[in-house]
Amino acid sequence: MNWSLIGELIRLRYKLMWAKTRSRNGRIALFVIGYLVFLMVMLVLAFGGIGAGIAAIQSGRAQQVTEIVLSALFVNAVFATVIVGFGLSAAFSNTELRRYPLSARERFVARHFLGIVDPFWFFILALELGLAFGLFAWGSFPLWSGIPAALLLTVCSYLVAQSLSVWIDRLLARESGYAIVILLIVLVAMSPGITAAILRGNHAAVAKIFAVLWFTPPFGAAAAMTRGGSEMFLGFAIVIVWLVALLFTLAALERRPLAARKTVRTEGVEWDSRLDRIARVFGPRLAPLIGFWLRFYCRNSRFRVLYFLSLPMAAFLAFSISQPRRGGGSLFVGVFGAMSIVAFLGTARIAVNQYGYAGGALRRFFLFPTDPAASLRAGSYTALLFGAAWIPVAAIVWTIFAPRPLDAGMLLMPALNAVAVLFLFHGFALWTSLYSPKRGNYYKSFGNDLSLAGNVALIGTMLTCILLPQLLHKIAPWVLEPRNWWLSLAADALGLCFYLISLRAATALFPQRREALVAAIEGKS
């Protein structure tokens, strides 16, 4: 194994990350991320891992609490990776590594070494180590077994996340892939609720499930951390067996050739497609640009998956956050927030970084004999169009599942609120596209390739949609009463104003920002 070259590649990866901080935006991002990570690590170590360790000891059920904490971390790490895209940037692809004198096995090791040294996995490791330290400090559980167990479990989480994403990537390359992936995600999202309902009061089934779970990596790691003698060694053995199996699975999945994505066209040139006809509604000046952006969105695999997934995801969210046992409000309160997410989730990634996926083609917009900002306007209108199309569908779904009697206010309010969020989000998206662009890979199915501001806009809006209705439900419940539906109409007016002002200002600033945009997107800044 050529470890010296693999070491050099890891150094190069961090040099490249450091190089990004040389720009003004990079320095700001570094400062904010550094500050947040510092705060989070402190909080996590103080209240998270160590706190969990203390709780485990104080409850007198150290193993069970450790099993639950490690399982939650494991599942969250895998979900954050596969769904949100954290910690999946391999830095160098297999093709890129082919230029170095590395064998196929060495390239595999190099890529995954580079992948696991991503700051995200250090964060997961910090949480698990925090738990091991908590168990050691308050419960006298040995560190010599706690630290390796945490390390092995982090590697296991990484391998599960990688295997899953490689498998989904292979699946998406097939014709039926999208439908299968969407179905799987919906099933996974709904399974906790369904499982909880089935298992309620059924102790025998719970015991059977726990017996099976004992053979999973988090439970194995928990045994390694909290048990002694043969049980500890069995715990280690379980994690190691998983690790080896996952390594072989990942290698086998990567060896399988990616099926050539089926091209849409099978015969001659199509001149007047459905997308062109939709675009024509916007008038002759904007029609070519709208037609372009419609194609740009529709041919993006990640957009297609997220767009069609946004409705079932929002339904799950609405159901989940309205559970009274979790301190949530009624289903109406859940739907009030979740329906808004439908309005922007699918388009969000491209909307907050409109030119980030166009690459060098961005120059083209400045060469055309039109106002260059027309492309920004057209891109934004297209995202609005896609988002707005989901709102009536979501409203229909709500009318079907809403508790009876259903009055007009209960139907109107979430829909109107979704329209307000649609405008607000796309207003913010114009600013992030202009002032915080980041070069992204249009064809990549996984990974978080948004800038800091882009992530703040996306995650911030999602959290606001989830938490604000809950907060209002507690402090000012009258705001969410269906008879006050006109308040959402006021929110619409506010959202529309913000969007129009942003659009006007952003289009005026667009020509001045063109050199900075081109430099950022072509990787020259």
Partner: protein, 259 residues
């Protein structure tokens, strides 16, 4: 030469980036109907100059006139008369070739019927008949052909081509050269940057050579060379553009003893 006989007139053009000088003080006139070669070593400011000439970059100083009209960020009508093939090609990878060309044509204001006719013609002429592949799946030579087609689809009066011949096969280059000659015969102007000096020598009737940072060191007619003559610079004579280029740009070859 007066501005009416010049397609492009650059006066004291300067472009600075955060204190770094990309183009220092460039003045140049490109006659109408000429095939103008704009040469220089890597990093000499050729692409920056083209960026300024096509309105992509804002010059730090100086002025640019194209077809007798001053180029400003709002020169929409003027841009309609210009065709550009950028160094990065500027292709939208998710589109099919015909979609991309139709999009460009519509942006330049061509009617739907005219667009279809020209796109069909260009696709056939440039042998871009594989309609099952999006541009992202095209080879680099095919991508260059598409970018060339996009630059000429609206019959511009001035054509800017940044490194047009690299990675295109000899057959394609020959066809492009023929079209470009026909283009200039109609009184249109072509402004080319290229590192293929032999092609420039055969194709261009006028050449300018710049060195870092965007300084003009030589500009002249190449007709003498075509008639068996030589190129002159400060009393010295050169039998080819390549010899003159190497002399002017001071290309040196370091001796790498391990090689």
């Amino acid at each position: 030469m007066t501005s009416s006989t010049n397609a492009i007139r650059i006066s004291h053009l300067a472009k600075h980036y955060d204190g770094a000088v990309a183009v220092a003080d460039l003045s140049l006139a490109v006659p109408k109907g000429s095939m103008f070669g704009f040469l220089g070593p890597n990093g000499s400011g050729k692409s920056t100059t083209i960026g300024c000439l096509t309105g992509l970059l804002d010059p730090t100083g100086g002025s640019i006139e194209i077809l007798g009209e001053k180029l400003t960020p709002d020169s929409v009508t003027l841009k309609r008369r210009m065709g550009v093939m950028p160094e990065t090609l500027g292709l939208f990878d998710p589109l099919y070739a015909h979609e991309f060309l139709a999009f460009v044509a519509r942006m330049y204001g061509l009617s739907e019927a005219e667009t279809r006719q020209r796109v069909t013609g260009l696709l056939a002429a440039l042998e871009l008949t594989d309609t099952r592949k999006t541009l992202g799946k095209y080879s680099s030579g095919m991508r260059k052909r598409v970018a060339f087609a996009a630059a000429v689809i609206h019959s511009p009066e001035v054509l800017f081509l940044d490194e047009p011949f690299e990675s295109i096969d000899p057959g394609g280059v020959a066809a492009m050269k023929q079209w470009l000659r026909r283009f200039t015969e109609q009184g249109r102007t072509v402004f080319i940057t290229s590192h293929v000096l032999e092609t420039v020598e055969r194709l261009c009737d006028r050449v300018a050579i710049i060195t870092k940072p965007g300084k003009l060191v030589w500009e002249s007619d190449l007709r003498a060379l075509a008639e068996g003559g030589v190129l002159e610079h400060e009393g010295a004579t050169f039998k080819s553009v390549e010899a003159l280029f190497l002399h002017l740009t001071g290309e040196k070859y370091a001796d790498l003893d391990w090689m």
